[in-house]
Symmetry: C2
Subunit: 189 residues, 2 copies
């Protein structure tokens, strides 16, 4: 039987190898960008690390399954937006919320008190021009070296991909919505 | 400003649309296959749904971050394997563990008492020939219609992709291991 080499996930390097915070990007048009970030948050919290999750496109009052669980676990998860913008008719308000939210997230990253900071759906405000990309890149470059940051959303800017340590593209091979099967509570939210 | 159409994640269909269990596959060589499954499990549990996680390549005593958290939340997570097989010299023993584990997982799926069953890293035993693919496909086809099943691992067999409702390929665009940065506790495990 042919046994392939181990996946990178389970390679273990020399104990002298570098330990430092990573910039991880989850992008692409497929499922799993945010849920994988939540899984990382769960894992880090399970290791006793401080975690903070910011969601740029969720309202502060969001009570999806993940919010209920993270609250129960004591992991702060904060909606910074007003929901997805095509529902909003006041785009200037959405833009202001994104900028205010970014100020908070940037301060958390800079403070260095968290092992992991998740910036969920930050690609939307970046793409809409609500947040200047250069500000975000600077905050990442200048962060305390032990802080891991996960950024999610479709169409990650090329400069961010270049700066990142690890970039995963979630590609939709097949999707049940396309076959007429609707969103399922507990799966999609 | 050009506002694109909403991502499929947030489309909402008519309330009359079909509600049923889905088969979701996370495959590809990138990060996030298992963590996205954990995020789904977290979300479903947050909605008050019964969830069970089987891990085909983890030992029963695994105490990674996710195990600590799911135990705290009361989500059963069960390692069925003996770790990754290239560490094992007794492949027949590994194969037997996979078959025994599959028997348990198949019974859970068939019983219909869980909203979501995760079969983490099941692609390994399928690929090694430890589990007959046809048995797994049959169990999925014949499951109670409300049961969602998530299957993870590289190189999902084509027949499984065809049967699945939703397939996401996690593609490694860039990985920190390649740049010599080692596994980081709390991020990789």
């Amino acid at each position: 039987m042919q046994i392939e080499s181990p996946p990178v996930d389970y390679q273990r390097q020399q104990p002298t190898a570098e330990r430092r915070g990573l910039i991880l990007v989850h992008t692409g048009n497929g499922k799993g960008k945010s849920t994988a970030a939540f899984g990382l948050a769960l894992r880090a919290h399970g290791r006793g690390k401080a975690v903070k999750i910011y969601q740029f496109m969720k309202v502060p009052s969001a009570r999806f399954g993940e919010h209920r669980m993270f609250e129960q676990l004591g992991v702060p998860i904060e909606g910074l937006g007003d929901g997805f913008s095509w529902k909003s008719r006041d785009l200037e308000h959405s833009a202001q919320l994104a900028r205010d939210g970014w100020t908070r997230a940037a301060a958390t990253i800079a403070a260095g008190e968290h092992f992991l900071v998740v910036l969920d759906e930050i690609m939307y405000p970046l793409r809409y021009g609500w947040l200047p990309l250069e500000q975000v890149l600077s905050a990442l470059r200048e962060r305390p070296s032990h802080v891991h940051v996960v950024l999610t959303g479709r169409n990650a800017p090329q400069e961010l991909i270049e700066l990142a340590d690890t970039v995963t593209e979630m590609t939709m091979v097949k999707h049940h919505f396309k076959a007429g099967v609707p969103a399922q509570r507990g799966i999609e939210d």
